[in-house]
């Protein structure tokens, strides 16, 4: 096993999809493990964190974890009630996420573990648990540096840009990339002729601003939940069409794109079709960007990626 790697434990958006027709890609909700030497950083705590927790307790040596949350929608925290390390004395877990205060973060996490919805509360956790706001300062966790950007998704939602030994990973599980440009196009006729240039400038500005957080990423893990047909019905739900995700990744000169937050309505056949269509778009742009579905169990060896100078 390599020293530094990313591993997908949950790749579904919205809700788990434990259906035989979906098992090729995986049915758990968002959870990505980032292992850098002895440091274990867990991105989101969807149901994928349950098998990850079970695997961690079988390991010798690991007793300290960092859990970095993008936001608190259920699919991103619903694995925590069954996250075994939290219930074992001697373990240390640091949570990070968007909030006004550590107490607010703790509140957001604990609310799903209250009667009558769950039999035990976070007070029964026996691990040493601490809460930290992913605030204005960058996080420095061992050799890993993490900054955040606010995403276009309901409520305060962060994407994380993670620098590991000269490589950049961007994790943006929930983000609606095309909303503002589509809003502008939909309302263009309402604007006077002399307002049109400013409107076009706003569209361009919003496009480039919307992708600056992913610029030059070695690995981009990004929301790609909808097909174009889905997006026509679900515009304004806070997720991206996979074609918009690919186009933005190309503009941002991403090296390896992993399409993420798969719609639980899409089975393996449909997701394979989406992957093929995405790869065709990349080829049509004569780009060398790798473009694949994020699949449960897949591991990306970070040590094999070329190092670069820090931004």
């Amino acid at each position: 096993m390599s020293r530094s790697y990313l591993r997908f434990w949950g790749v579904r958006g919205s809700y788990p999809a434990p259906f035989t027709s979906h098992m090729g890609v995986g049915g758990n909700t968002p959870c990505v493990e980032l292992r850098v030497g002895d440091d274990v950083i867990i991105l989101d705590a969807g149901t994928g964190i349950i098998p990850l927790g079970n695997a961690l307790v079988r390991e010798d040596g690991v007793r300290s974890l960092h859990v970095v949350l993008s936001h608190y929608h259920w699919d991103h925290i619903s694995g925590l009630p069954f996250f075994v390390p939290a219930f074992i004395p001697g373990w240390s877990i640091d949570f990070y996420g968007p909030a006004e205060s550590p107490a607010e973060l703790a509140h957001h996490i604990s609310q799903q573990m209250k009667a009558p919805y769950f039999p035990v509360e976070t007070e029964t956790w026996l691990a040493d648990v601490r809460y930290h706001v992913s605030g204005e300062q960058e996080l420095q966790l061992g050799d890993v540096r993490i900054s955040h950007t606010t995403m276009h998704h309901p409520g305060l939602t962060y994407a994380y840009r993670i620098e590991v030994d000269g490589r950049v990973i961007v994790y943006a599980p929930d983000n609606e990339l095309a909303f503002i440009s589509q809003s502008i196009d939909a309302r263009r006729e309402e604007f006077d002729e002399d307002e049109q240039p400013l409107l076009e400038a706003m569209k361009q500005e919003q496009h480039w601003r919307g992708i600056e957080f992913m610029e030059d990423a070695d690995v981009l893990i990004h929301d790609a939940q909808y097909t174009p047909e889905d997006y026509r019905k679900k515009r304004g739900w806070g997720h991206s069409c996979y074609l918009d995700t690919v186009r933005c990744a190309l503009d941002a000169r991403v090296k390896d794109l992993r399409l993420f937050s798969h719609d639980p309505n899409n089975d393996d056949v449909e997701l394979d079709r989406i992957e093929g269509s995405a790869m065709e778009l990349v080829s049509a742009h004569q780009s060398r960007m790798t473009c694949r579905l994020a699949r449960e169990g897949v591991q990306i060896d970070l040590d094999s990626l070329p190092r670069r100078r820090r931004r």
């Binding site: 968007p98 006004e100 204005e136 950007t149 606010t150 276009h152 998704h153 309901p154 409520g155 305060l156 909303f179 503002i180 809003s183 502008i184 309302r187 309402e190 604007f191 006077d192 307002e195 400013l198 409107l199 400038a201 706003m202 500005e205 919003q206 601003r209 304004g236 806070g238």
Partner: protein, 131 residues
């Protein structure tokens, strides 16, 4: 118009949005204070009243909802009119804005005339020609 001109504060880090506010307010007899940094705007608002605040919530430096919350904690701004103008159009954000005391929640892009109407309805501002 007798007395001081209405003070309109814009907090938005989008250069094109700022251009739109400046262009829209140019014909009105108002004072426009524009901030592309929430921190700078808060320093200004600590010791200035405002007749109307336009606030984006999706900014690089800081989430606009936390700006609104901090503003409402100040005695001076407990009832200041704060209109959220943002590219986000989600129920959760609208509900949060209402909970924090936003006067209104509008989705970009706004036409110049819409911005002028909001300013005039909120402050009674007149056009420069009328003033």
């Amino acid at each position: 118009m007798a007395g001081r001109r209405p003070l309109i504060v814009v907090i938005d880090d989008s250069p094109t949005s700022i251009s739109l506010y400046e262009r829209s307010a140019a014909s009105l007899d108002v004072e426009l204070a524009v901030f592309d940094s929430p921190a700078s705007s808060m320093r200004h608002l600590l010791d200035h009243d405002a007749d109307l605040v336009f606030l984006d919530i999706l900014m690089r430096e800081r989430d606009g909802m936390s700006v609104l919350r901090e503003l409402r904690a100040l005695d001076r701004h407990q009832s200041t009119r704060v209109v959220i103008v943002t590219s986000k159009d989600y129920f959760q954000d609208r509900a949060r804005a209402k909970e924090l005391g936003a006067t209104d929640y509008l989705v970009k892009p706004l036409r110049s005339q819409e911005i002028r109407d909001i300013i005039q309805q909120a402050t009674g501002a007149v056009t420069k020609a009328d003033g």
